[in-house]
Amino acid sequence: MSRAALLVLADGRFPAGGHAHSGGAEEAVKAGRVTDAASLADFCRGRLHTTGLVSASLAAAAAAGTDPAALDAAADARTPSPALRTAARRLGRQLLRAARATWPGAELDALARRFPKGAHQPVVLGLVARAAGLGPLDAAYCAAYESVSGPATATVRLLSLDPFDATAVLARLAPELDRVADRAVEAARRVADEGVDALPAASAPLLETGAQAHAGWPVRLFAS
């Protein structure tokens, strides 16, 4: 196993489609809930402990070898918004394409065969981490970090926010990212005995309803 593989996978420039998604930030900016670095920090903290925790747990469980179909169904159950399900599957498909080219292997090919239109992105992420020789904690870190780095980058574009301020928001969240990744791995560990119901189901209703509204906008910068 190479730790450096984690850097390749977690790099925001890894070509898996994330650049076109704001993680709900575009809707939150338009609704006036994110206006500056302080409100961006609040938004990211909320997303980290809800969507981020759920995603990190799914990714950790997938990296630990849990059946991806069971995890994909668990992800559906934790994603009420059809728009978010669609976005998650689209991103999962894009990630799988990039990963099959970068870390080719039978497990990823099998996943592509089983989900030709894409599985939920965190589930794919966990299996990609496995293919890259990484473990459940690495997968959890990737998912948790993506849950906040996406909105932070998008907000720089949406608000012309100072990029140093946006990056500082991410840096201040680092200790919380550690805790979320640890919780995710702990939950994933329990899946072996208790099944996927042991995974967290922390919900962010505003992200869900906002994503539905956003999907109907005629003019928008981001796909979600």
Partner: protein, 225 residues
């Protein structure tokens, strides 16, 4: 489940010339260039010129709307199922060069759902003179500029003007009104491009898109040879 001939996996990853079922995929041609230079109008004209002889589809990459796709739909240049819009997160050049996964999915889905196709046109959102398509996404690219954008653009060069497989200088009918020197543009383009072809066109003229359509036909003949 279909049989895999060229992959040990289930679906295409990138620019392989063969589809997973072993058939040759459609030729993919990208059209890029600055905002307002006439990319969408050229795509529409190409569709009208080629749709009787070829099976074709279009992917648009708008910056923040679906306007380009809707323009093509409104003008009914192709049936709606043959036009797909990709959202680019405010970065059109990223979606055609640095992270092409959404565009690859769009072209493959068009081919799966409406194929077999001979040709897919991938139109970039209007960007700047440095925007070029990845070779992982398209087989050839057309860069569209116009005379009203300034007759010094060919001289300034840049990756689009210099390296595109075809440079189109559009709206030549406007040259007298904006004081653009077509001779100078042609000489500068030739100097920058080292023999790569250049087409001067006005879609309002009788010739219209014919020269570009002829170039596309030649690329397609080479692709299927």
């Amino acid at each position: 489940m279909h049989l895999d001939h060229t992959h040990d996996g289930p679906a295409a990853l990138g620019a392989d010339a063969r589809r997973p079922d072993g058939t040759r995929r459609a030729l993919r041609i990208g059209l890029g260039g600055p905002v307002g230079s006439g990319k969408t109008a050229t795509v529409a004209a190409l569709c009208r010129a080629l749709r009787e002889e070829l099976s074709l589809a279009v992917v648009t990459n708008d910056i923040y709307t679906r306007e380009d796709a809707e323009f093509l739909l409104r003008h009914a240049v192709l049936p709606p199922e043959r036009i797909t819009a990709v959202e680019t997160g405010a970065c059109p050049h990223t979606a055609i060069r640095d992270d092409i996964s959404a565009n690859l999915e769009a072209v493959e889905d068009l081919e799966d759902e409406t194929g077999p196709l001979d040709l897919v046109l991938v139109e970039s959102g209007g960007d700047n003179l440095t925007a070029t398509f990845s070779k992982g996404l398209v087989d050839a690219q057309i860069f569209v500029i116009d005379v009203a954008g300034g007759d010094d653009i060919p001289r300034k060069g840049g990756p689009g003007v210099t390296t595109a497989d075809l440079l189109v200088v559009n709206k030549t009918d406007l040259a007298p009104y904006v004081g653009s020197d077509l001779g100078r543009m042609a000489a500068d383009a030739e100097a920058q491009r080292g023999g790569l072809p250049v087409v001067f066109q006005s879609l309002r003229s009788e010739t219209g898109v014919a020269d570009v359509a002829a170039w596309v036909r030649a690329r397609l003949a080479a692709w299927t040879a």
